[in-house]
Amino acid sequence: MKKENKFDLPQGTLDLLIMRVVSLGPIHGYAIAQRIQQMSREALQVQQGSLYPALHRLEYKKLLMAKWQATETGREAKFYELTARGRAFLKDETENWKRLTDVVGLILKGTLEGVS
């Protein structure tokens, strides 16, 4: 295995990232991994061992739905998109996340100087 995640993703964040990527339009698993990597400017690399179980879990929870369709290269791939429920979930969770990071940031502000 070439490299580890540069970050340890906090519990539940992967689901949020996946849903964010999927919210941009129907997309297959491989492309999701690629997109997360690109969007994080290569800082995050999602392992397949986490990606696919997460996709299946989200699908089971009816936050995502999937259908098989041809890619631009003509191969059949499983494309995921958000359900209405998924969309609402993503909105709520993103707001939660923002609030959480704001609060955490507020508290941690200036810590680095203090610690070092």
Binding site: G49, Y52, R57, A77, K78
Partner: protein, 899 residues
């Protein structure tokens, strides 16, 4: 897509998952190739990056909600396949479980039905019985210990009048001799049929809170002198004998030759006021006794013949109530001239729970059932040990399989779960089989305990509790002994397990396994010794000299008073019986008496010699005809027997038995010509004219301890009518019952046979308890031995398999076959010896616990011990020899190559 649908589209989902992951890899490969990496290299890198595809698939399946169910189904399917693959293991395990649990469930069914069940009446908890032991059937006079449980009609009425603490206080007949009523549907030509009838007080049904199934039940107004004769029929009689015919209610039946109106049918399931193998067919009011039962006894106000059960008012304390009732009893007995001041001072009664009625059956079976529960528990322990051993052996055999599966990506939890599923599955199959065994077993127990009785209100069908009990036992065993091997298997590091293969040089079987085998051997020696003790005890009982002759003797019971005979008619009947039965070809002697040897009944009275009022003994009185002693084979030792010259007008005489002489006379004193007085009628002393041998009458255990006196049938006596005819023939007569029936019909069509038995069968009937115990102990002992042998065989065979290569090396190095056989056998025998070392002292200790249930044995006899030890050792040799011979036939070259 519902999860239900998903479950069944699992295959498709798996294909899609595979396709999805494959697409991912292909896309990765394509990307890499685009960046200039050659295809082969790109493919290799992609695979590496992707990681274990099967693990990812498994995680994906996990994240679907149906995973647990899917894997459960998968595990069950796999488990079933595994079990089918090793039928020997499966069969042994299932049989072991089925026998162990089935035996327990069967015993528990009976314990539940006999000991724990209340009567099917309203609020059985508030019922209280006056008295705490089962007295039967009819007696009078003071009791030695002053504890009374059976009462006269007068006593009942007084107690009822003076106890406002009871909502209702009801009385019921305490027991019967054979079948007390003969019943005929109409005055037509069909023969009268003997049936069980029970006399009950008018408030009997009201006290129990019962409602009729049809018509009405007996009420207080039916239970007064001069009321029209009525009866209530039991539900099962109505259904089974009269096929639920509605016209039965209100119609006239002829009972004991009197017209009786059946006013109703008792509720379904009500089997009377006690558990009995002969539940009542008819309930009759006590006030109709004089009309129904023409004979003596019931008329006597001092005759005790009633059990009393009452429903106490809420909040009544039982201790003061018991004091009060005992006081009442003393007052009543103070008026009775038969009671001395000491008898009155001693007189008391003890209240007991009345919810189960009069617990005569419970009293007589409690100790046996408890013993059987212990025994069944031991067998279950042996069975569990066997299962534990089998599962452990299996767990270890499959260590390699588990390692391979772990290496291939199976999750540990999944493996443990799968092994558990397998053992629970095994337990489930065992449990279901156990229920079948339990049903059969309970039926067999009932047949052994109550031979020939179809009317017992006990069902062999396992109750809800028993069902739960069996299933819990099965699953507890399965889980308990499935967990250990599962954990062992799961802990195995795949690399180690795969590397070490199957080669081992040490023991093979673990200490735990050997310990289990030792434990089994110990338990089975205990059970075998127990079985030996009980059959020895039975043998001793049956071969006790009962001082009688039973060959070619038949005993017919009739009920003259039920057939309508009066005091002044019975003597003529006795003579007719003698004449008619003598007229049958081949008949040698015809005895007529009140009771016969080994019948189980007796009629006791206080007796003292004239001139010696201080020595007061209780003696059994039987009235007999001249041929009686010859007919039952009782020898006359001194003086004479009863003869034809003893008539109503000749002197009042009696023949006494040896024990009577021992109890009242000094050694060497001549009893002939002496006179004694019995409480039955103190105005008429008996003159002793002869002494007979001490034939056993109720129980061989009491042989030689029961004083008896025999009066002539022809002389007036207070004892009831003679109901037993003993027919001695010169050769076996198979159709004697039919001949007797025809002979009796020829005398009077109301003379029905109440009971017909050969003398031998009557004697055997007295040993039913002992025979049941001995048979069951033998069964359980055999079962234990079988299970222990299986266990020993399993462990030995397992160690032989494990040591195949070791044995191969030994043989290659020059060990010969005998050495190998001896080596394997030795370990089997050593384990058995350890088991014996533990089991023999336990068996000796156990023997002291059951001493009271054994006859003529105080400890384990040498012969029993040697037989038990010999059987166990023989079983051990067989269990060891089979694997030992297999080990000796190992071809060293093949054994070494096998790895």
């Amino acid at each position: 897509m519902s999860w239900f649908w998903r479950l069944f589209s699992r295959k498709r989902m798996d294909i899609e998952l595979d396709k999805e992951l494959r697409f991912h890899i292909e896309a990765q490969v394509a990307d890499k190739m685009r960046s200039g990496i050659p295809e082969n290299e790109a493919r290799r890198l992609a695979r590496l990056e992707f990681g274990g595809i099967d693990q990812i698939k498994e995680s994906c399946r996990q994240s679907r909600g149906t995973a647990w169910l899917e894997s459960l189904l998968q595990d069950v399917g796999y488990g079933l396949r595994q079990l089918r693959k090793s039928p020997g293991f499966t069969l042994t395990a299932v049989l072991t479980l089925a026998l162990g649990i089935g035996a327990n469930a069967a015993i528990f069914t009976l314990v539940n039905a006999v000991l724990l069940r209340d009567l099917p009446v309203v609020d059985p908890k508030s019922l209280v019985r006056l008295g705490n032991w089962a007295d039967c059937c009819q007696n009078s006079g003071p009791k030695q210990d002053g504890n009374y449980s059976m009462f006269s009609t007068e006593t009942y009425e007084q107690l009822k009048r003076n106890t406002p603490e009871f909502e209702e206080l009801a009385a019921m007949q305490a027991g019967f001799e054979n079948r007390p009523v003969v019943v005929r549907r109409d005055a037509g030509q069909d023969a009268a049929i003997p049936r069980m009838g029970e006399f009950v007080s008018g408030n009997y049904f009201g006290m129990f809170g019962l409602r009729p199934a049809k018509g009405r039940l007996i009420s207080a107004s039916d239970d007064v002198a001069g009321a029209p004769l009525v009866a209530v029929m039991s539900y099962s009689t109505w259904k089974n004998v009269y096929s639920g015919d509605d016209s039965v209610v209100g119609s006239t039946f002829w009972m004991n030759t009197k017209p009786v109106t059946v006013i109703g049918v008792a509720p379904e399931g009500f089997y009377g006021d006690r558990m009995s193998s002969t539940p009542p067919d008819f309930y009759l009011p006590i006030a109709t006794v004089p009309n129904q039962m023409g004979g003596k006894g019931f008329r006597d106000p001092t005759q005790n013949w009633l059990d009393i059960i009452g429903r106490v008012k809420p909040g009544v304390a039982l201790v003061p109530l018991q004091e009060k009732l005992s006081g009442e009893l003393k007052r009543i007995y103070a008026k009775d001239p038969h009671f001395s001041a000491a008898d009155i001072a001693k007189a008391h009664l003890v209240l007991s729970a009345g919810g189960a009625g009069t617990q005569s059956m419970q009293h007589s079976y409690a100790s046996n059932l408890k013993l059987l529960m212990w025994i069944a528990g031991l067998v279950l322990m042996i069975a569990c040990a066997n299962i534990a051993n089998l599962l452990m052996v299996r767990g270890m055999q499959r260590k390699t399989e588990m390692s391979v599966r772990t290496a291939l990506g199976a999750m540990r939890t999944r493996i443990v779960r799968q092994l558990l599923t397998e053992s629970v599955l095994l337990a489930g199959i065992g449990g279901v089989t156990a229920l079948a065994v339990s049903y059969g077993g309970a039926r067999m127990l009932l047949m052994l305990a109550f031979p020939g009785d179809q009317h017992l209100p006990i069902s062999a069908r396992p109750s809800f509790e028993v069902l739960g009990f069996a299933i819990c036992m099965a699953f507890a065993t399965g889980v308990m002994f499935g967990v250990a091997p599962a954990l062992i298997a799961a802990k195995a590091s795949p690399a180690d397990a795969l590397r070490s293969g199957t080669r081992t040089t040490v023991g093979g079987a673990s200490l735990v396994q050997r310990g289990l085998v030792v434990f089994q051997a110990a338990l089975s020696v205990v059970l075998l010794v127990g079985a030996g003790l009980f059959s020895q005890s039975l043998g001793k009982l049956q071969h006790t000299d009962m001082e009688l002759q039973s060959k070619n003797r038949y005993i017919v019971h009739i009920n003259a008073q039920a057939a309508g005979y009066k005091d002044d008619q019975v003597n003529a009947l006795y003579r007719t019986l003698e004449e008619r039965f003598h007229a049958i070809p081949g008949v040698v002697n015809v005895g007529v008496s009140t009771f016969t040897p080994m019948e189980g009944n007796d009629d006791g009275y206080g007796v003292h010699l004239i001139g010696q009022p201080d020595i007061h003994i209780e003696a059994t009185n039987i009235i007999v005809n001249p041929e009686y002693f010859n007919s039952v084979g009782t020898r006359v030792l001194m003086g004479r027997g009863i003869n034809v010259h003893d008539t109503a007008t000749s002197p009042h005489v009696a023949v006494v038995n040896q024990d009577f002489v021992h109890a009242l006379f000094k050694p060497g004193e001549n009893p002939i010509g002496r006179s004694f007085v019995a409480d039955e009628d103190s105005s008429k002393p008996y003159v002793i004219v002869g002494v007979v041998a001490g034939t056993s009458y109720t129980d061989v255990r009491r042989n030689g301890k029961r004083p008896m006196y025999f009066g002539p049938l022809a002389q007036p006596s207070e004892v009831g009518y003679a109901g037993a005819i003993v027919i001695q023939t010169s050769h076996p007569t198979t159709d004697m019952e039919e001949i007797a029936r025809r002979t009796l019909m020829g005398i009077n069509s109301n003379l029905a046979i109440q009971k017909f038995e050969t003398f031998d069968a009557q004697i055997a009937g007295r040993f039913t308890h002992e025979r049941m115990l001995s048979t069951l102990m033998l069964l359980f002992g055999g079962l234990a031995l079988l299970l222990a042998t299986l266990g020993l065989y399993g462990v030995t065979a397992y160690s032989v398999v494990r040591r195949t290569s070791e044995i191969g090396i030994r043989m290659a190095l020059g060990a010969n076959r005998n050495f190998v056989v001896a080596m394997i056998l030795r370990s089997a025998i050593v384990q058995t010896l350890f088991g014996l070392a533990i089991g023999i002292p336990v068996a000796f200790y156990g023997a002291t616990l059951v001493r009271s249930q054994l006859y003529g044995l105080t400890t384990v006899s040498g012969s029993v011990l040697w037989v038990a030890v010999g059987m166990l050792l023989a079983a051990a040799c067989v269990a060891g020899a089979i694997p030992a011979l297999r080990a000796a036939s190992v071809d060293p070259v093949r054994a070494l190559r096998m790895e």
